[in-house]
C-alpha cells in the first residue's frame, strides 16, 4: 500500500518533512525575535516607533500569507533583485520563504507578547523605574520575562499555525511537505491515503509542540 513512497527521492517523504521542520524552526526563532522587537516598539515612549509598530502589525497581518510569500519571490527577487546571497534557486526560495514567514508571523507574535505585557501589573514597571532601571532595562529584565511566561499558550498557537503555514512555501518551489504532497497527488491514485499521510505528519509535528508548551506554560507561570 505504501510502496509508491519509495519512488520519491527528491525530496523523499522524510526529506520533505525535514524541510518543513527547518522552515518552522528558523522562521519560529526569527519571528520570536522580530515580534519581540515589534512589541517593544509598540509600548515604547517614542511616538515614531509606536507608529511604526502599529502600522506594521496592522498592514502585515491583514495580507494573506500566500500573497506575501509569492511576492517575496516575484517581487523582491525578480523585480528588485533581492536574492539574499543565494546562488541557486532552491536556496533562494528557502531564504525568501523564511523572510516572508518571519515577516508575517512576527505580527502575530508581537500581538501575543503585547497582550502579555498588559497582564504585568503597572506596579512592576513603577518599582523597576523607582530603583533606577532605564526603560530598556525595565522592559528586558522585568516586563518581558513576566510577559513571555503568561503568553506561552498563545505563542504555542502561533507556532502551530506557523508549522502549517510553511506549506505556503511550496508556492515558490520550496521542497517541503505540501510540495511533495502535490507531486504525489498528481502521480498516484491513492489520494485519500496521501492526504492521511501528510495530515498525520503534521499532527506528529504539532501535537507534541502544543503539549510541551502547555506544560511549560503551567510550570513557568508567575505566581502573584
Amino acid at each position: 500500500m505504501f510502496d509508491f513512497l519509495s519512488d520519491y527521492n527528491d525530496p523523499s517523504l522524510l526529506g520533505a518533512f525535514w524541510m518543513t521542520v527547518k522552515l518552522t524552526a528558523v522562521s519560529g526563532l526569527g519571528s520570536l525575535i522580530w515580534g519581540t522587537l515589534l512589541a517593544a516598539m509598540r509600548v515604547s515612549p517614542v511616538p515614531l516607533m509606536r507608529g511604526f509598530g502599529t502600522a506594521y502589525v496592522n498592514i502585515v497581518r491583514n495580507i494573506p500569507l500566500t500573497v506575501i510569500i509569492i511576492f517575496t519571490s516575484l517581487g523582491l527577487a525578480d523585480v528588485f533583485g533581492v536574492t539574499l546571497g543565494a546562488s541557486d534557486f532552491k536556496v533562494q526560495g528557502f531564504r525568501l520563504a523564511i523572510l516572508g514567514l518571519v515577516g508575517y508571523t512576527a505580527a502575530f507574535v508581537c500581538e501575543a507578547i503585547r497582550s502579555g505585557i498588559n497582564t504585568v501589573p503597572m506596579g512592576q514597571a513603577e518599582a523597576a523605574r523607582a530603583i533606577g532601571l532605564t526603560f530598556s532595562q525595565t522592559l528586558r529584565l522585568i516586563i518581558l520575562p513576566q510577559a513571555f511566561r503568561s503568553v506561552i499558550g498563545p505563542l504555542a498557537n502561533v507556532l502551530i499555525a506557523l508549522t502549517k503555514n510553511t506549506t505556503v512555501a511550496a508556492a515558490i518551489g520550496v521542497a517541503e511537505a505540501a510540495y511533495l504532497m502535490k507531486a504525489m497527488i498528481e502521480n498516484e491514485a491513492q489520494t485519500l491515503l496521501i492526504g492521511a499521510i501528510f495530515a498525520f505528519g503534521f499532527v506528529v509535528l504539532t501535537l507534541p509542540t502544543g503539549l510541551f508548551l502547555g506544560w511549560l506554560s503551567k510550570r513557568l507561570a508567575v505566581k502573584r
Binding site: A127, I131, G132
Partner: protein, 258 residues
C-alpha cells in the same frame, strides 16, 4: 509644561534635600496638586496625612517623577528633576520608594529582588551585592526567606523586602506611599518598626500614611493635605493636640475618636 528651575545654591546652602516649589498638577479637570511648596531637610522625617483624594500619594510620586507635574519645580539635593532618560534613571536610584502594593518583582526571588538594582544600576559585582542584600534582609527581619518568591511571603514580609530593596541602592531619601494600607492589621507593626528604626538611623523620609501613631512617634513634621493643597504644617505634638485649621480639626475628629 513650563518648569521654572530652582537656583542651585538655593537648596545646597541650606542643607535642604527635597525642594518643591509652586508645583501644580491636573488629572483632567481635577486640580490634584495646587501650588505646593514643600522643603525637606536632610535627615528629616516628614509624614503627609490627609483624607483620601487629597493628593498626598500624587505628591509623593511626583518626587521621583512617577507622576509628571504641569508646572513648578522639584529639586533633589540641589539638582532639578531631569525630564526623562538616563539622567532621570540615575536620580531615581538615589530616591528609594516603597509602594502600597509592595510591587516586588514577581518572577524573581526575594534575594534577587534586593540584588537587581545593585548589579544593574550601581554596577556592583554579584558577590558584594549578595552580601549586602543578605545583610539588609537580616536587618528587616526576613533573612530566612531570601530564596522564596514574593508570592510565598506574607504582606508584612513582602513590604519589609521592598524596604530592603530600596535601601540596597543607598538612597538619599526614602519615599513611602501608604506602606501599611494594604496590610492585615497584625502585620502593620512589623513594617512600622522597620521604618521607626530607619528614622532613628537618620534617614530622610517622606511618609504618606494613615498611621497616626507613627506620625506622632517618628515624624519631625506633619504635613496635612486636603483638596490638593497643603493646609497645615506643624510638629506632631502641636498638630495632633492643637490643630489650627478647621479642615485639620474636622479630619482629626473623624479619625481619633474611636
Amino acid at each position: 509644561m513650563t518648569e521654572v528651575s530652582v537656583a542651585k545654591e538655593d537648596a545646597a546652602a541650606t542643607g535642604d534635600l527635597v525642594v518643591l516649589k509652586n508645583v501644580n498638577k491636573h488629572f483632567g479637570a481635577l486640580h490634584v496638586l495646587q501650588d505646593i511648596d514643600l522643603t525637606i531637610a536632610r535627615g528629616e522625617v516628614v509624614v503627609v496625612i490627609g483624607p483620601s483624594g487629597s493628593g498626598k500619594s500624587t505628591l509623593c510620586r511626583t518626587i521621583n517623577r512617577l507622576e509628571t507635574i504641569d508646572s513648578g519645580a522639584i529639586a533633589i539635593d540641589g539638582k532639578p528633576l531631569p525630564a526623562e532618560g538616563k539622567e532621570l534613571a540615575r536620580l531615581r536610584a538615589d530616591v528609594g520608594m516603597v509602594f502600597q502594593s509592595f510591587n516586588l518583582f514577581a518572577h524573581k526571588t526575594v534575594l534577587e529582588n534586593v540584588m537587581l538594582g545593585q548589579i544593574k544600576v550601581r554596577k556592583a559585582d554579584k558577590k558584594q551585592a549578595e552580601e549586602k542584600a543578605r545583610a539588609l534582609l537580616d536587618r528587616v527581619g526576613v533573612g530566612t526567606q531570601a530564596d522564596k518568591y514574593p508570592a510565598q511571603l506574607s504582606g508584612g514580609q513582602q513590604q519589609r523586602v521592598a524596604i530592603a530593596r530600596a535601601l540596597a541602592m543607598d538612597p538619599k531619601v526614602m519615599l513611602f506611599d501608604e506602606p501599611t494600607s494594604a496590610l492585615d492589621p497584625e502585620m502593620i507593626n512589623e513594617v512600622l518598626e522597620v521604618m521607626q528604626q530607619l528614622a532613628r538611623d537618620g534617614m530622610t523620609m517622606i511618609v504618606v500614611t494613615h498611621e497616626m501613631g507613627f506620625a506622632r512617634s517618628a515624624a519631625n513634621r506633619v504635613v496635612f493635605m486636603a483638596d490638593g493643597k497643603i493646609v497645615e504644617e506643624a510638629v506632631p505634638d502641636q498638630f495632633f493636640s492643637n490643630p489650627r485649621s478647621d479642615r485639620a480639626k474636622d479630619f482629626l475628629s473623624k479619625i481619633l475618636h474611636h
